[in-house]
């Protein structure tokens, strides 16, 4: 039985952190769930969508994170419990609306799950979203293990209803994507009624119109809510202490760092010397609990990701309490004991504790480590960060690169985040020269395209994916068209939100649960703005490059839609278009006229250089059968034939 539907209270499951959050939401009887996909948060809505029908939930992949919060907020206003999930960058996108939600307050319990990505394992920044809690003045919860991920999610809805405030629940990659044992609780009934009441007096939290004004009054109410949250957090069972009554060193930690800290204490066998205060409620901090905890030890170490959020908040309280608790020695990010960037791990915590307490600790003999490093080299080949075999982006960047190189005016590509971000690397022929947040490629390009008056005559090309187009590119495209900016906007349409796992988007005809929806045609959107729109198949090398070279001679905002389905798309069912092989007699290999063009420059992983025989070969297992390499071989040695059905 799936953990989604099990009504057996007390059953145990091995669950990913994101699954535990899902179960918590189900146990809370969530009615509305919305999100824009983003690693490491995507599984939350994906799995809720599987339960949508049985648990009577409206589940939606929204166009972007801001709209996702708005959709969930509507559910709350209509009296339902609602959840909204996103990665850290999503909170930036949603933040404008979130500030207003904080001020107006909520009705049905509403929880924002934001999954940070310390170390930027699947991101192009490691921006931390916890700081929004302080800025937005919203309560912030951080589960410290998998059980808590479920329990705190369920409790967050209650807290939200008690405070009439949105509650933030923060996860990180190593919590969302790692797994642990979770004991499940009861599932409520599925009957839910939605209605929005607005006939009461302004300011009535249950029946009045929901606006942020009058701001000074509502702001005071918001701070009263925070005060209540603080009181609740003083008694919260999610703030726990493990260790001796009076440790030599007190670690204050939260989230996945809790697990690293416990492991470090165990590795050092220092359970008698080190205490661990795990905070589940990190904003606003409960001052009495902090006071009691700081009084335990004179040495305090903060272990958290990414920035010194709790460290700084605790230090403010410590300054206020100095008369009572005395002077403390603080260790953490500010003094460099713990790195200020990247992921934390048990070794970092071990090293910090050993240094502070003067413990001799060698995790492994140096010669063992050297031998292990040597062995790793033989076990795992060095691999490029590259596009998948048959990825249309490789072909698209090939075409863009070659057209810009032939055009020979130092043209370049502005991009953003998606699989195609790799366009700045050799796999994209180093064609992309700027890459930032979603939709910012076209925005930056719009600006570059207006610098002609200062003598800038480099052609400006920008790319974004089909899901990104709807998410954030449209306003920037409007800007480019309206301001007559000279840009070529290339929509890399691979028919899905490929990078995060093929979630549907407004350009695809299905909803989160697989039901049909009207799909919106990006070409029609662009045309309606007044941009010229053309299509190209990136696998048609000659045709696409000819179209690009032609567009490079024209002015104004030009849109080229490069349409080709993602090589990994489930809709392709792994089918190859072509069988591809190398005619080894025709292959001229390293000779003048080729110099390993396919394996040295084009570098599709499906092509392998046979050093001994001096020829290229196709790795049939890896080859996706796109056939593009047959078009680029200068000797016509790569042959493609239609794959048998």
């Amino acid at each position: 039985m799936s953990y989604l539907f099990d009504t057996n209270d007390g059953a145990r499951y091995l669950l990913m952190g994101n699954d535990a959050i899902v179960r918590g939401a189900l146990e809370a009887g969530v009615g509305v769930a919305s999100a824009y996909p983003g690693t490491p948060s995507s599984e939350i809505i994906e799995n809720l969508s599987r339960a949508a029908r049985e648990r009577n939930i409206y589940v939606e992949w929204s166009v972007n994170e801001k709209v996702a919060v708005e959709v969930a907020f509507a559910g709350s206003l209509a009296g339902l419990r609602s959840i909204c999930a996103m990665k850290q960058n999503g909170v930036n996108v949603a933040s404008d609306f979130l500030l207003h939600v904080a001020l107006s307050g909520t009705r049905g319990g509403m929880v924002l799950v934001h999954c940070d990505d310390p170390g930027a394992l699947s991101s192009i920044n490691e921006g931390e979203s916890r700081h929004f809690a302080r800025m937005l003045e919203l309560p912030l919860l951080e589960p410290g293990d998998f059980q808590e991920a479920k329990d705190m999610t369920a409790w967050a809805f209650e807290l939200s209803e008690e405070l009439r405030s949105l509650v933030m629940l923060r996860s990180v990659t190593r919590l969302s994507h790692a797994s642990g044992n979770v004991t499940i609780g009861k599932l409520p009934g599925t009957e839910k009624r939605a209605a929005f009441r607005y006939d009461g007096p302004l300011g009535d939290p249950d029946t009045g119109p929901v606006v942020t004004m009058p701001v000074p009054k509502n702001h005071l109410i918001l701070q009263e809510k925070l005060k209540k949250a603080r009181e609740a957090f003083e008694k919260s069972p999610f703030n726990t202490y493990t260790g001796p009554e009076k440790p030599e060193l007190l670690i204050i930690t939260s989230s996945a760092c809790n697990l690293y800290s416990l492991e470090a204490v165990s590795l050092l066998n220092a359970g008698g010397r080190i205490g661990v205060l795990k905070l589940g409620t990190t904003w606003p901090l409960p001052p009495e609990l902090i006071k009691k905890s700081l009084a335990r030890a004179d040495k305090i170490l903060f272990v958290e990701e990414v920035l010194p959020f709790t460290e700084e908040n605790v230090k403010i309280l410590a300054a206020e309490m100095a008369a009572d608790i005395g002077i403390k020695n603080f260790y953490g990010k500010n003094d460099g004991t713990i790195p200020m960037t990247g992921e934390i791990n048990p070794d970092i915590v071990v090293e910090a504790c050993a240094k502070i307490l003067g413990i001799e600790y060698r995790p492994m003999a140096p010669e063992f480590e050297a031998a292990a490093q040597e062995m790793i080299k033989t076990l795992a080949p060095v691999r490029d960060l590259t596009f998948c075999p048959g990825c249309p982006h490789r072909a698209s960047f090939w075409n863009i690169h070659n057209a810009l190189a032939m055009d020979n005016r130092e043209g370049f590509v502005c991009g953003d985040i998606g699989c195609y971000t790799l366009g700045f690397l050799p796999c994209g022929f180093n064609t992309m020269k700027t890459s930032h947040s979603m939709g910012s490629g076209i925005g930056i390009a719009s600006g570059f395209g207006k610098l002609g008056q200062f003598g800038m005559d480099q052609p400006i090309v920008t790319v974004c994916g089909d899901s990104t187009f709807f998410h954030a590119a449209i306003p920037a495209l409007v800007n480019a068209v309206h301001n007559k900016s000279d840009v070529i906007f290339i929509l890399l349409d691979n028919s899905g939100t490929a990078m995060t796992g093929f979630q549907p988007h407004p350009g695809t005809p299905l909803d989160a649960t697989g039901q049909e929806l009207p799909d919106i045609d990006p070409a029609a959107v662009c045309r309606s703005l007044g941009a010229t729109v053309e299509y190209a198949d990136p696998f048609d090398i000659d045709g696409t490059q000819a179209a690009l070279l032609r567009l490079l001679h024209e002015g104004g905002a030009r849109v080229l839609i490069m349409k080709q389905m993602c090589a990994l798309s489930p809709a392709k069912k792994g089918k190859k278009m072509f069988e591809v092989r190398v005619d080894e007699i025709a292959c001229i290999g390293e000779n003048c006229g080729c110099n390993r063009f396919c394996t040295r420059i084009f570098r599709c992983p499906g092509l392998v250089w046979d050093r001994e025989r001096g020829v290229a070969v196709v790795d049939e297992v890896i080859c996706a059968g796109c056939g593009v390499c047959a078009s680029i071989c200068p000797s016509g040695a790569i042959r493609k034939t239609e794959a048998r059905a």
Partner: protein, 370 residues
């Protein structure tokens, strides 16, 4: 002959602004491409020796070796290079009337050579608007479609390289002096390929004082004339000092000084006005609008002229002595200027650490084309 790779070619020729866009390095490999009159390196090639470098007429050209490939003799540094005879020529009665610049001599010779299967392919240069476009022609009746002068540099040899790749073995080429020089290097088999055979059967050179950078010329004409409507371009003899551009709606004139400003720097190092490394060279005949000067340089060139005259494709006459002298003076001046310029920036017989434009016997440098 010093042969290096494309990396060095880029530095010594493209980056140094010496490229004449002849196309000799293009269509040999997927790395170098010509587009809109400019040669671009799409990706780095790591080979330390390449045909691109070996064929380029603007880097490490050993004039004696090039000369031996064409004439079996070392370089003759006279103003017109090696030749057998000089005549006047025009299209014969067998030729259809075409849009000839002057006498139609080149069109006649190439038509004849294709007709009689002396060549299996003609590499010509047509025109689209003001852009010179290489053409691979196998139908003798199509030759005249590429008649008349182009003033922009064309990667004609990219079409030649393509024809070689396509397996053509008797190729006729209408070549500018830099292109004829590149062909001479190609014919010398500089990469020492086994089973090499000379793929050319006839190189018809055309006189050239300079060609225009297509992109810059396009910019110059922008707003003055619809380039797609141009039927003919001409530079009348001095003292006119102008370029004439003909369209259906009439003629526009552009001062020659403005036009000359669009000549690529690489042309300034060209010592060759009359395509000295061709089998035949054709150019204007002073004071005539319907005949050409024809320089016959090789036996195979002479045989084609004889046949074309015999079969009525070409008419030839004697060139007045003073016209020949004027031609020698003009060609000698170009040679001297180029040698002086190249020498002054150290591009003749450069030392080991630097690529030369040309390598030539020291006596010839001093003589400056006698």
């Amino acid at each position: 002959m010093k042969i290096l790779g494309s990396k060095e070619l880029m530095v010594a020729v493209i980056d140094a602004g010496l490229c004449t866009s002849c196309g000799a390095c293009v269509s040999l490999c997927p790395y170098l491409r010509s587009y809109d009159g400019k040669t671009a390196m799409l990706f780095p090639c790591t080979r330390t020796e390449g045909r691109c470098f070996a064929f380029c007429p603007r880097v490490e050209v050993d004039l004696d070796e090039a000369s031996k490939a064409v004439f079996m003799k070392s370089y003759d540094d006279g103003p017109l290079g090696r030749y057998i005879s000089v005549k006047t020529a025009r299209a014969g009665s067998r030729m259809k009337k075409g849009n000839f610049q002057a006498g139609g001599t080149v069109s006649s010779l190439m038509t004849y050579a294709l007709e009689k299967k002396i060549i299996d392919t003609a590499i010509l240069t047509g025109r689209e608007g003001i852009r010179a476009v290489p053409r691979i022609v196998t139908d003798p009746d199509s030759v005249v479609e590429s008649a008349s002068s182009n003033y922009t540099a064309a990667p004609t040899l990219s079409a030649f390289n393509q024809a070689v790749r396509d397996g053509r073995t008797r190729i006729g080429v209408v070549a500018t002096p830099c292109q004829a020089l590149a062909l001479a290097q190609i014919r010398s088999n500089p990469m020492k390929q086994k089973d090499f055979t000379d793929p050319t059967a006839l190189v018809a050179g055309i006189f050239c004082t300079w060609a225009l950078d297509y992109r810059r010329f396009r910019k110059l004409l922008d707003g003055r004339v619809d380039v797609n409507a141009i039927s003919k371009m001409d530079i009348p003899p001095p003292p006119a000092e102008k370029m004439e551009i003909y369209t259906k709606s009439g003629k526009i004139e552009i001062p020659l000084s403005e036009v000359r400003a669009q000549v690529p720097d690489g042309c300034g190092y060209c010592f060759d006005m009359t395509a000295e490394f061709a089998d035949l060279s054709v150019g204007v005949h002073e004071g005539s609008t319907d005949s050409n000067t024809l320089i016959i340089r090789t036996d195979r060139g002479a045989a084609v002229v004889d046949g074309a005259v015999r079969d009525g494709y070409l008419e030839v006459g004697d060139i007045p002595r003073e016209n020949l002298e004027h031609l020698k003076v003009a060609a000698g001046n170009k040679k001297r200027r180029a040698m002086d310029r190249a020498s002054s920036v150290g591009l003749v017989n450069s030392g080991d650490d630097r690529c030369a434009v040309i390598r030539i016997s020291p006596a010839s440098v001093k003589g400056g084309g006698r």
